[in-house]
Symmetry: C2
Subunit: 246 residues, 2 copies
């Protein structure tokens, strides 16, 4: 890299309510909701689901049900009564979902996607697709804003760790810089957590919430980096495999 | 401590815009703005200033000027034209300010104080008065919410480090617990920064901003723990020494 090459920015926004303070100048957004929406979406696309329609409300989700779609709905960690599936990544590995388009609404993740969708490019990140996503982001030579879904618009640890991981990898490429304190903090948190994320997150509020629901297998899966290579991208309101768009 | 003694909560709120998401159930708030408003306020009270009137706007500050008060006004790191002083802690050590009541408006800190003032008890925290503040908080046996002033309503590193330091000390006392991910993250950030805060904050956006203004001496002072024992407390809209209230 020549020393006068312009660096791109990578920044982390901790929650959807802060998006308006960070989004200026960015048209490439990575949405993350590690536990579990975006981990499930990456897994679904990896396993052959054709498309995921992110839906903000349960009412919208019911409209898709009436139209005959498979509809996934999660609130507060549990499948909502009357819907087919929730947001456990394992659900989306089932062969019968291959080739299907699924409507999905979750507590945090799908709302963050809807907030980001005004932007030119929206892709889905997780620890699962960390390396393939970062490889692709580095190729784009564009400024990148990572939008963490948080928990009900509050900062959460697991999304910050994932945002910090993306920031760390992009900065290490030598082609990016970060200006915001949130990005610097996310990188530091990732670095102190990376060797044992499961233990690190024991203290997190969301982990405690999921523990009550006995979702340890899901949590272990979601905290496993690089077991997926798919990069879901938003096209005409549907999350589809990146390679079908380019 | 008996094992069935009820623990109090200590939580960190990263910025005034998040206050409504965190404040429920708290009536004891610690406001921090490490660079430099609350460091200056603690220093002023330590050095014999009688009271500081936190003022949100420059217009209000001018009203106090007309009434004959000494008025301090800072915006974006600099003293505002037409005002006596800014928020450099060194300013407040001057003997001629002893016994005076000063009106103060700053970019972030005084706004955070005004947001907190609906609560029963508002005290001022900084790294400078860290240990004496924590000793007092532990004696209170009440839930404690630390409100970071941030930078223009965004997360910032230096206030988060100070919030994490307070959280760490209170948790170590065995009388407190934290539920929020923001508090857990602040504690981790403090622990990784504590050995060399000056270097850690090199990356921070606010440090870069102050560097341009050549305020390294101020920054060094503000990042020095426990060089002050005063605890300013809000009484009838004026920050006064704690011992004059109790």
């Amino acid at each position: 890299m020549s020393s006068n090459q312009k660096l791109n920015r990578v920044e982390v926004c901790f929650a959807p309510c802060d998006f308006h303070q960070y989004e200026e100048g960015f048209d490439l957004i990575v949405v993350i909701d590690v536990l579990r929406a975006t981990s499930a979406i990456c897994t679904a696309i990896e396993h052959g689901v054709s498309g995921i329609i992110p839906v903000a409300t349960l009412d919208e989700a019911r409209e898709y049900q009436k139209k005959g779609y498979i509809v996934a709905a999660e609130r507060n960690g549990a499948v909502v009564d009357g819907f087919d599936i929730g947001n456990s990544p394992y659900t989306y590995m089932k062969p019968e979902l291959k080739g299907q388009t699924i409507a999905l609404t979750t507590t945090n993740g799908t709302k963050a996607i809807r907030i980001a969708e005004q932007k030119k490019t929206v892709v889905i990140g997780s620890l699962n697709n960390l390396q393939s996503l970062c490889d692709w982001l580095i190729e784009q030579k564009r400024d990148v804003l990572v939008l963490a879904s948080g928990w009900k618009d509050k900062f959460n640890l697991e999304d910050t760790i994932c945002g910090g991981a993306i920031t760390d990898i992009l900065l290490e490429s030598g082609q990016f810089t970060s200006d915001e304190d949130s990005s610097v903090a996310a990188k530091f948190i990732y670095r102190s957590a990376k060797e044992n994320m499961f233990a690190y997150l024991k203290a997190s509020s969301h982990r405690r919430r999921l523990r009550a629901l006995d979702l340890n297998a899901d949590v272990s899966y979601c905290l496993t980096p690089n077991n997926v290579s798919a990069i879901p991208i938003l096209k005409d309101g549907i999350l589809v495999p990146l390679e079908t768009v380019a």
